[in-house]
């Protein structure tokens, strides 16, 4: 009986770890997926928007901790950091759309794609120039408390990461389903040429889409900073690519799909690492993804859209 419980606990422990990792992928990949769905565009700068968002979160957290500690309880500081960071980072998203992609709306798709890569490099080197090569450490926004439930360990930080990610995604879902802006985004992902005929300006919906994605990525950055406190200008590259994989695996424009695929990625990575040496983790994990895509080339929820490209 004893070994059975132990292996059960071991699996449960890994599920929690996978949920945490999957939360990062899910929240970041949604930004990829939304831009792809609404504008038929891969925003390859998204990983670096996440990175810049994390740095903004770092700055805000540092200032708020210095100024507000003792005046207000830590959860308030945390919440204030999230809200202010989200707001500031969403303007990064707007900037990327207006300065980077808008001038290229009529250009070949490949030009738009490399624009994303270039903006990413500019962000990475920009941070490097401004802050130097030293690695910064994200300050903890709450004291870590360990809980020992049954045979598994969970920290309050881990629980918070999982819960806030879920709440964010639910809020986004409500925004997309219930508001007129969400409606316009869904309409654009179906037939973006017909959208202006509804009196909807694409120049409002496009930057809004980028802003939402960037805001989400920045919150993911703060949460990431609580789990892995080391900041580095290239931290968004690998994470960005993985989020991109999740967005494609989820299916074009499907937020549900991107979230699900993000968690799946987290689970595959964690559980591959429990069986195989961790150096083989990504090799095996992404081979599995490749096989899934071979059988489901449109991803999980590849959305239907109008095939007419001219009005």
């Amino acid at each position: 009986m004893e070994p059975l419980i132990e292996s059960f606990n071991y699996i449960l422990q890994n599920i929690i770890n996978a949920l945490q990792r999957g939360s990062f992928y899910a929240v970041i990949s949604i930004g990829y997926s939304m831009v792809y769905g609404v504008l038929m565009l891969f925003n390859f700068a998204h990983g670096d928007i996440f990175m810049v968002g994390t740095y903004i979160g770092f700055g805000i957290a540092t200032v708020f901790l210095a100024v507000l500690t003792g005046l207000v309880p830590p959860p308030v500081i945390f919440l204030a950091t999230v809200v202010v960071t989200m707001f500031l980072a969403s303007w990064i998203g707007v900037f990327v759309e207006v300065a980077g992609y808008r001038p290229l709306r009529q250009a070949p798709r490949a030009s738009a794609a490399i624009t994303g890569l270039m903006i990413g490099i500019i962000f990475e080197t920009g941070i490097l120039i401004m802050l130097g090569a030293k690695r910064l450490s994200f300050p903890p926004l709450m004291e870590t408390v360990n809980y020992h439930i049954g045979g598994i360990y969970i920290t309050n930080v881990k629980a918070m990461i999982i819960i806030i990610s879920l709440l964010l995604m639910l809020a986004l879902h409500a925004f997309i389903q219930k508001t007129k802006w969400g409606m316009a985004m869904r309409a654009m992902s179906y037939d973006f040429l017909a959208v202006p005929l509804m009196g909807v300006s694409i120049n409002i919906i496009a930057p809004l889409t980028f802003a939402v994605g960037a805001g989400l990525a920045a919150v993911a950055g703060i949460l990431y900073g609580q789990a892995y406190p080391i900041l580095d200008p290239y931290m968004g590259v690998l994470l960005g690519w993985k989020a991109f994989v999740a967005a494609i695996l989820g299916g074009r424009g499907s937020i549900k799909g991107a979230a699900l695929a993000g968690y799946l990625l987290g689970f595959i990575e964690i559980f591959v690492a429990t069986v195989f040496p961790s150096t083989l983790r990504d090799f095996i994990a992404y081979s599995i993804i490749l096989i899934i895509l071979t059988f489901r080339p449109r991803g999980f929820f590849g959305m239907e859209h109008s095939t007419k490209l001219r009005l």
């Binding site: 007129k180 409606m183 316009a184 869904r186 309409a187 992902s189 179906y190 037939d191 040429l193 017909a194 202006p196 005929l197 509804m198 009196g199 909807v200 300006s201 694409i202 959305m303 239907e304 859209h305 109008s306 007419k308 009005l311």
Partner: protein, 237 residues
């Protein structure tokens, strides 16, 4: 005149689609432009709704406003010119009601929106029955009703209608044109382009004939219906 078009020139790349056409539409009028496939009917509507650029020297004027100064979404939201495009272009992933609400995106008159929506549902009861259904699941006729209803809600100073009869069974076509008459009765000016010349000429008060990007004939529709050239080329008589 409510809408004045002077010397409208449009090209797709090197191919000239409209050779400086000029026409005007009076407020409350039903005007039709008939012509063969590729003659420039849809291009004319797209130019007015600013979906495609027109060349310098073109003049488009609506109630004294220069249309060329407006972007496509502002033509709808500020000038009140709606465009019901060829092939309907409804949003299949949105419900019927969402399609109608989206069309009011820039409108602030919330009470009037509700009144307009009710009016559209009265005009097309089928839409009300299916209001919670995804628009992509509607039949072709219902989709056309939705496209027209949606256009009406987006702006009803003037409606640009591109082939509303396309793909409809004859009985549905007649219903559709009856509904358009109702919309016109409320004061909406209608500019209709149609391949179905007989239907369009019976429906409209005045008509133009377009050939290879130029307007070649103009007149009251009862005269055009009797014109031997029109009869030979477009009415199959």
């Amino acid at each position: 005149m409510q809408l004045n078009i002077q010397n409208l020139n449009v090209s797709y790349g090197n191919i000239k689609a409209l050779h400086g056409i000029s026409f005007s539409v009076a407020a409350g009028e039903i005007l039709t432009i008939i012509g063969a496939n590729g003659a420039g009917k849809s291009t004319t509507l797209r130019a007015i709704s600013r979906m495609i650029p027109c060349e310098p020297g073109s003049v488009m004027d609506f109630n004294g406003q220069n249309i060329m100064k407006y972007s496509a979404d502002k033509v709808v939201s500020k000038l009140g010119i709606s465009h019901v495009p060829e092939g309907r272009r409804i949003f299949g992933n949105l419900t019927v009601t969402e399609n109608l609400i989206l069309a009011c995106f820039a409108r602030k008159d919330k009470d009037q929106i509700d009144i307009d929506k009710k009016w559209v549902f009265d005009l097309f009861p089928r839409l009300e029955e299916r209001r919670h259904q995804l628009a992509g699941t509607l039949s072709g006729g219902e989709q056309q009703m939705l496209a027209v209803g949606r256009g009406y809600m987006s702006g009803h100073q003037m409606m640009l209608l591109d082939e509303p009869s396309m793909g409809l069974a004859p009985i549905l076509m007649l219903d559709m044109f009856d509904a358009l008459k109702e919309i016109n009765k409320l004061g909406t000016t209608i500019l209709l382009v149609e391949q179905n010349a007989r239907l369009a000429l019976k429906f409209a008060q005045r008509g133009y004939v377009i050939e290879n990007g130029s307007l070649v004939l103009e007149g009251p529709t009862h005269e055009l219906l009797d014109n031997p050239e029109v009869k030979k080329a477009y009415l199959g008589a």
